[in-house]
Amino acid sequence: MAVKIDHSKCIYCGACVATCPYLALRLNEVYVEVFPDKCVECGLCTKACPTGCMSLPEKK
């Protein structure tokens, strides 16, 4: 599992990438990519995101 991005809200600004201490996010030219093997679901990116497009998966 990893953080989820609502691409209908994301403006590809990279604020989440700047804030991810694990380098688990990458802004390429068209969208923000998540590397699930690096994401530890810490949630920092969900707090950083200016549009609120990121969310953690629901805990089972």
Binding site: A15, N28, E29, L44, P50
Partner: protein, 414 residues
């Protein structure tokens, strides 16, 4: 066909610069001018876009760099700043040499700076994304990148990271504090709007940048209206990373607030932008063996207004010169390259440090404090304060609000 090499890129350079924003392009130009072989790479297909910035730049930075702005690079000429209290009523207009400047069209401005770098002899690769650094014997020796779909290792004596707020390269080089922390970062959201009223109550604000403070509108940050023309503006907000819920929420709330909403009645957006704005101290180290970091990637951003272009260009200029000289002498160790850090600190730190302190104090003021203070200060008072001369203003404020002694004493002892 697939095996035809992409033309114009060699396997080895004196200097590789990652990121073709203002810091990178100035560094590329200065280094190339001094005879270094330079490659500047950028992941984007078009330099300058997408913009994620308020686009304000002080005239003094343009003059210091000796650059000439094309008319198309200037969206609006700015003569001053208007600071508005949280009550949206009290304000101060500051018009000094310090507040003269421009709201740029970054798409034109950035591309022009890159063109200057190219004219000076720097090679440029667009659609070229660095994904890792080449390390060798404890020093950085080049960049691993994907250029037009082809993986390439390009070696260099010095790698200059100018990759902006994400600062991936500095982190790969081991500079752990290059990550943006919620505490030391403002997160921004901005619209470029047309049909904005830049006149209000019989006053004309079309040559002013407007800055709105207040916890209601921008906790631990500020909201801005930067004119982009007679009827258009960048209207944005930056909020502290620990604030909830997010920047877009605060921008919409502001645009609907009594006191300003009539200025946005007919406004429509032609762009939305966002981003992280590091507003704490710069990263601790600017250099490693064979490696330098410049601009927003090094958190060289004004802690008060969040502007980065001016500081970035000066860092790029110094780093470009130091790198070219180091490459020519084959001396690229941290100690040699650290001349860049020293010169940057000599030029910027005294003012930067005072602004860090001022930011800490501003964050502690309540909306009531700000309403009372902003209503009582003059343009000269603000000018002095921003210049680092805190005493006269602190004394004036304490006469009105003696309860602020504890908060403001930090500035007096500075």
């Amino acid at each position: 066909m697939d095996d035809i090499d992409v033309p114009l890129i060699r396997n080895e350079y004196d200097i590789i610069i990652i990121g073709a924003g203002p810091a990178g392009s100035i560094a590329a130009k200065e280094a190339a001018k001094r005879g270094a072989s330079v490659l500047m790479i950028d992941r984007r297909k078009e330099l300058g876009a997408p913009v994620r910035c308020g686009e304000g730049l002080g005239m003094k930075h343009v003059e210091a760099m000796g650059i000439k702005l094309a008319p198309q690079a200037i969206s609006a000429n700015i003569n001053g700043a208007r600071v508005i209290a949280p009550d949206l009523k009290h304000d101060i207009v500051i018009k000094t040499p310090e507040t003269k400047g421009y709201v740029l069209d970054r798409k034109v401005f950035d591309k022009d700076l890159a063109k200057d770098a190219g004219r000076a002899g720097s090679q440029i690769a667009v659609k070229c994304e660095a994904y890792d650094l080449i390390s060798e014997g404890g020093r950085i020796a080049g960049v691993k990148c994907i250029h037009n779909g082809r993986r390439r290792d390009v070696r260099a004596k010095i790698v200059i990271a100018a990759d902006g707020a994400e600062s991936i390269m500095a982190r790969l080089a081991g500079m752990k504090d290059a990550v943006s922390t919620l505490y030391d970062t403002d997160y921004g959201y901005e619209y470029e709007l047309v049909n904005v009223k830049l006149q209000d109550g019989g006053r004309d604000f079309s040559d002013l940048i407007e800055i709105f403070f207040g916890k209601e509108w921008a906790p631990r940050g500020y909201t801005w209206i930067f004119p982009k023309g007679p009827d258009s503006a960048n209207v944005g907000v930056g909020i502290g990373g620990l604030e909830k819920p997010n920047a877009i929420h605060y921008l919409h709330k502001f645009m609907l607030a009594d006191g300003v909403k009539h200025r946005f009645e007919n406004a429509v957006p032609v762009a939305c932008k966002g981003g992280a704005i590091p507003v704490g101290a710069p990263v601790k180290e600017f250099c490693a063996d064979g490696f330098m970091v410049v601009g927003t990637a090094a958190h060289q951003v004004d802690p008060i207004h969040g502007g980065g272009i001016g500081l970035a260009m000066n860092a790029g200029r110094i780093a470009g010169i130091v790198a070219a000289e180091g490459a020519a002498d084959n001396k690229v160790d941290k100690q040699t390259l650290d001349r860049y850090k020293k010169e940057w600190y000599d030029a910027e730190w005294s003012k930067f440090n005072k602004r860090l302190m001022l930011r800490k104090v501003l964050e502690k003021l309540s909306d009531e404090d700000l309403n009372a203070i902003i209503g009582n200060l003059s343009s000269e008072d603000i000018d002095k304060t921003l210049g680092g001369d805190f005493k006269p203003v602190v004394e004036k404020v304490l006469l009105k609000r003696p309860q602020l002694l504890k908060v403001l004493s930090a500035l007096l002892n500075f």
